[in-house]
Symmetry: D2
Subunit: 338 residues, 4 copies
């Protein structure tokens, strides 16, 4: 089946075969529209592992080598953040569609260049904000778009656990990026300024906890609490509207999304009771977010439609993270997001 | 039993018979050392209700009237915040010991005057930070003091629900005051500055959500998230140390306090697993916090020891709230707490 | 308000002022249609306590004394089971409406006599199967009656905790009685036979755990697990139908009733996933079951309609308990319920 | 590493590559001591799938063919129950060590023959009661053996979900078998008789729910509730002793085992409170039970020690299931277990 379709399928390489790369490669090898054509990693050990799992896929130590030796239509860049700009630039220059790990870059200016280059080259460049492609977030977006939540009132997300201290990044860029992507995708709104604070831990130079408040141009507000210091793993995202409130709790596999028929348009109702209506736990599809994302990538390439996590939207997230970092350095000072 | 002890017992009045007053009066009437001697409320309806419940206790429309007509040793002031300063001042001037509802006052300067006046008069003035007297918070303090938690790393508290919008106060003064009192009592530490932000709701002029980060003179940090806008009631307070972390979840009657044998002194341990040790749920005594508090009041009067929620400590909490409010007005600007 | 209505209100006495009696007396004194006219208990200490709480209500050591001294329309019998038959018989003979604590009696034959006597005398005799009057059970019944559950498939209830070992009864008569009452009220069905087993504990002669299977004249089946030996308190009652299943978990105040849109009419559906549809948590009214029950009693007296827990239905429950006990004595032998 | 050890490693075949077989094959290929030497399945489709995953392992349509073509030391039989007796007999006759899927057979007499044949041939035959090898059950056993639970009082297990209706077995043989294996392994005790009842569903001839009470020769008792009809998946096993009670809840990944410091040796203590001591959630190792089991198999072969799930112990479980089935046919009649 797959073989007969090879001629039409998208020749794609994976750059970086560390933690996330193998998941991407596995999914690419299972989706009919892709032809996994190269795996690139400078580590011999990781290339060996890649060869074991993907026997017929050639592996290379560098992107350049792969570009010379195989024909490619697209790449997935699953390397550390600091390499994103260079690799993505090169991929676009070479006419390849790109998926880049989140965050797109660590500088807004660089993100913007990449976003513009992709548009100029008429290539799809999307960022791997995986949560955006999960069925739980899709349900949240659906609740907003069909008007069920009513007028949006606030977003509040907690994403904490005992975390792998990243050697080269802070908790803000590692975890808050997810909440910003969810917020942006679900509400379609962009904050105008941010006030953020940090918690540090003596064992690392990077921030290990961050508290972010996002200000908008009306009363809607958002708050994000991320930490690598919590022995309890929490993944709770709340979006509250004037009619209903939706809770996404990623730690409850059978109750990931709960819709509370209680808004904050309180009127003169009796408030002595804490839950004012029914609660509904909608059934979600069991799709793997990463697979949905890769299929979306294929579709975007075919239709030349913008992806849900396009360069433009990802640039806004980088801008927001950059502003939050600046606010953190100033202990909470409000910073405009440009 | 009670009657024979009346001559030795503390003659006490309750001012304000609204929401909290009846609970106080009931407890006072059940504790042997107190002689509930007057109930004061300007509302005839509420006085009638008080008479029905406490048949033999005289009721008065004003504190002045009560002062003229009955002999008193102490008062409990359970009226709106704006009246606290005047009533407490009068009580202390008249040589009465006082319990005041939280917050003590809305101005640090006034709180300080009352705290100093109480000391000058050698009277016990304590503030009704009820949580401080709960068995869960007592357990938290015990875990800190016996060294079980290790070096303190952070405090993070969430206190949200669909709230009774107070006509004259913000969520900061209504809810965050509890977290500040718990933090102060359990850790014995005072923040040096604060960065805070708000969420507003169109239905009220007062802040309906607030996010507070407290900075200390070392790496310890604290964060508080309070809201009247959440359909889910959450009461979760975490205090994390280098050895263990304690979670106080007031919504889980059988598991109020959980101690995680996992600290954040991570060393080189394997972090792929989220809980790194045993968890213990200590049995708590079932005492009512308010009763413990009133008995503590009696004991402080007898021994002339400072209460756990003395004027001095309560003043610090007012100072912190005042600074947080100022930070909120400036969208997160760091404000020193004086 | 209450006083002006006294002439029309029902003069009622409470017999037995132990654990449950005070709750009954309190509710009676708060409902306009009742005139609490006597409290009867042979214990001086308990009568003193009753007088303290209900100052103007006369108390008596015996029912006979009360019958001589006050005019009564009804009584509530909240005494140990073994006294139910005699007291209820006397009440009915004296023309009084009666509420009796559950179980009505410990013998089917006696229950039947009382049920028939009440009918003959045209008096309301109802049994205090309190759960039947709770909003959660009302919701379950509503789901059955509106057809939402579909064809009923099974009932399974667990009611365990570390229990007060009753000096004169077994866990079957103490706890399973609740499940039988719920089952009967919600489904309107009566079992034809029962197989039951027991668990004993060395500290008591009475059964401390019981496992009851009820057989019906079609494929519907019911199972009840009750115990005084569980350190975890569980109150979970499941009623499953071909369309939906309802779970009543009395230990989850905010999620007492959950409706699963997944039935057992499995068809050819994919079963690799455990929950096959949405879950809904309906909002329940916050009424106290005992108050609802007492108001229902008033209404039954007025309209002369059968109560939901009439003598006839309560007799069936006693018959079921008697048969279960016989099965237990024979280690599970099926016993017909007559 | 693996290759160099092949000469010493155990040549093993997997018979049956349906649901469980692939998991076994994967584990065997990852454990150094095994040399996965054949995969046997009569289905061409499943053999093709096996070849895809295990490129270098030959596959065969029948056990006989494999016996002729490859050298084997052991087999894992992962086929439907009705084939267990014949295949295991043949394996033992051919001098192979065997792991058989649970239940060993559907007849006690056959189980006994296999158990005796294995002993006579000095071969390891163990049954795949996987739970016995889980870290949660190991913890339960440890708590019993170190005396922490005290004298055992009861065992109560609920194992229900919306289940895959097995075409050739009842829920008793499909699910209760797990509880019997856990009970036997953890307590080391064997029941003397059983009373069991069933629930049927119109869509299948086999029992879809079963309620089993096990009687022992003292006051200890056990109850098992299994069902394929529950939309809520429950996996809760309680073992209660005079000192402590342990709860194994397989649906709570972070709190699988909870130890309640509350026994049922109630003495004269105050019972108005439901939890009488601390609760501890011990950290469990994260090993996969199946891998532990396979390593245990290797060790048993090396040391010729009995496995934890030997033919003898598995025969007792089959005897118990057979007796329970007979009791079910007689609606709860007590049946002795021979």
């Amino acid at each position: 089946m797959k073989n007969s379709a090879v001629s039409d399928s998208l020749r794609i390489a994976v750059i970086g075969y560390g933690y996330w790369g193998p998941h991407i490669a596995r999914n690419l090898s299972q989706i009919a529209g892709f032809n996994l054509s190269a795996i690139i990693d400078f580590s011999l050990e990781r290339r060996t592992e890649a060869n074991r799992k993907h026997v017929s896929v050639p592996s290379f130590a560098t992107f350049d080598e792969a570009l010379m030796k195989v024909e490619l239509d697209a790449v997935v860049i699953a390397t550390p953040t600091k390499s994103h700009y260079g690799l993505t630039y090169k991929a676009l220059e070479n006419g390849l569609h790109v998926i880049v790990e989140k965050p797109l870059t660590s500088k807004t200016s660089e993100a913007q260049i990449l976003a513009e280059l992709a548009v100029a080259k008429n290539l799809i460049m999307m960022v791997d904000h995986t949560y955006v492609y999960s069925s739980a977030v899709a349900k949240m977006k659906e609740l907003v778009e069909c008007g069920e939540l009513g007028e949006l009132v606030y977003f509040d997300s907690t994403r904490v656990n005992l975390g792998l201290f990243q050697p080269d990044t802070s908790v803000l860029w590692d975890l808050a990026v997810h909440d910003l992507a969810i917020l942006q995708h679900v509400t379609g709104r962009s904050p105008k300024s941010v006030s953020a604070t940090r918690g540090k831990h003596k064992s690392t130079n990077y921030d290990a906890a961050a508290f972010v408040t996002l200000h908008f141009d009306d009363l809607f507000f958002a708050h994000i609490n991320v930490s690598w210091l919590s022995p309890m793993k929490i993944r709770r995202t709340v979006l509250s509207g004037s009619n209903k409130t939706v809770l996404f709790d990623d730690m409850l596999p059978d109750e990931r999304v709960k819709v509370y028929e209680a808004g904050v348009d309180l009127g003169e109702s009796d408030l002595l009771q804490y839950r004012l209506g029914d609660v509904k736990i909608p059934k979600l599809t069991q799709s793997e977010a990463l697979r949905t994302e890769l299929e979306h990538f294929l579709e975007c390439i075919t239709t030349r439609c913008d992806s849900w996590t396009s360069g433009e939207s990802a640039t806004k997230i980088v801008a927001c993270l950059e502003a939050a970092e600046k606010s953190i350095e100033n202990n909470g000072l409000e910073i405009l997001i440009t």
